[in-house]
Symmetry: C2
Subunit: 271 residues, 2 copies
């Protein structure tokens, strides 16, 4: 489940490691992860040099000079791993870049990931990245005013709102549990039913939760560019087996379905 914290760290590491590297070889084992014919992808990537690598929501966006961008989404799970020349590569990957110095990058999707390449002029037409909403860790963009502005007029449940990437970019079904528990909000709580004071708390918890997870290197069961685990532990670990209790009140964590996906809540703390 790579969400904003994992992808932000991955982008930072890729930016440090790959900037200036020239793509000498591309291997695509599963062309359906691309956004077009394999030949077009190769044409956009081969011979190009990685420049600034950033993240936006659950996407890593790398500039390829000249004239292209490489866009990576790990979907429902996967890793992007960096390998020094001569290191043993993992057996399983869908896409591999080899650089002119012999280093390489393997990208593995457990399920439904995207490795896209676009011309620089077409970046704005790449809807999955172009239509992303607010970046929660950008303090100049994610202000309380901006947050309430996108909330304006919305009437649905708070979980489905926060998970919609067009509203806020980067929250998936793992961190939403943390955020809502931290804010003491039930996932089915109607937006129109949340008091301003509580909305302020929610705003703060979105930022703080994602920032803390990013600072801790992401989730404890995810891997970064160097195949290192993160140190952020989710509070409801084991809830799927009915073994988790609320760290605040000790009540048993309950599983329910909300916005189409499973949710885990403390029935006493979250209203």
């Amino acid at each position: 489940m790579p969400e904003l914290p994992e992808m932000a760290n991955l982008a930072r590491q890729m930016n440090r490691e790959l900037k200036g590297k020239v793509v000498a070889g591309v291997e695509v084992r599963q062309p359906k992860v691309l956004n077009g014919p394999e030949e077009q992808f190769r044409g956009l990537v081969l011979g190009k040099a990685f420049d600034a690598v950033r993240s936006k929501g659950k996407w890593v966006m790398a500039e390829l000079l000249p004239d292209a961008h490489f866009l990576l989404s790990l979907g429902m799970g996967g890793e992007a791993l960096y390998h020094r020349a001569g290191e043993v590569l993992p057996e399983r990957y869908q896409v591999k870049f080899t650089f002119s110095d012999g280093d390489s990058l393997t990208i593995n999707f457990w399920w439904f990931g995207y490795a896209h390449a676009v011309r620089a002029a077409d970046l704005g037409a790449h809807r999955m990245t172009a239509e992303l909403g607010l970046s929660p860790l950008d303090d100049s963009e994610f202000t309380y005013d901006a947050f309430t502005a996108v909330l304006e007029g919305r009437k649905g449940g708070i979980k489905s709102f926060l998970m919609d990437q067009k509203n806020i970019a980067g929250i998936g079904n793992v961190y939403i549990q943390e955020i809502l528990w931290n804010a003491r909000l039930h996932p089915n709580r109607r937006i129109t039913d949340i008091e301003p004071a509580q909305m302020q708390v929610l705003f703060k918890e979105i930022r703080d939760t994602l920032r803390k997870a990013t600072d801790l290197g992401g989730l404890i069961y995810e891997r970064d560019l160097y195949n290192q685990k993160g140190r952020y532990e989710i509070y409801y670990l084991g809830a799927a087996d009915g073994k988790a209790v609320c760290p605040m009140c000790g009540a048993k964590i309950e599983k329910l379905k909300s916005a189409g996906t499973p949710s885990y809540i403390c029935p006493t703390c979250q209203k």
Copy 2:
């Protein structure tokens, strides 16, 4: 509640009474019931002769020679009344046609009706009539095959399907109660959950219910072109006050909300 039976009878009566009559005068008291500026409506109607008058779904469609059509929907209630020259007109109406022989037609909407006029060439662009679905009393059109064809792939509740004018034209929130009770189907019953044998029954009851009501001159509380009441009595009369019982089993008729509108069902007979 003028639905298919009332409108079919109204069209038949108008066809008999108005064919050949020339529109000598038009009075529009409430221009918002028109589909354009009042002057345009007058231009399309004045001096024209009524020709064939037919019905389709809840609409009466009259040919005006040359080159126009008059389209009438009584919405949530109302009457179209014919008056011989010299008769006293009702006080309340939104639109009145006066014919060259002194006879007249008054149209009264209780709520949300439409009196539209279009050029013959624009009839196909009049979406509210052009997009109507199957005509249940047209035996060559409303076959069981055609019925199952529009049902193909649908997964919602049966009531919302039958009330959608794009599927079958003419069923409103009155006759749907009769049809579903006759077919022993609960309004919320999933389409995918209805056995073929029961679907056959439903098909038959759509036809038979609407045909019987048409033959009886429509609902007992509606008025035809000659201000005469119909003779079709709904089975759940008084259900809104909790006073109706099922004619079959004697259980109290229950009120519930289905597809956004009230429904009345026998809790034991309709599953």
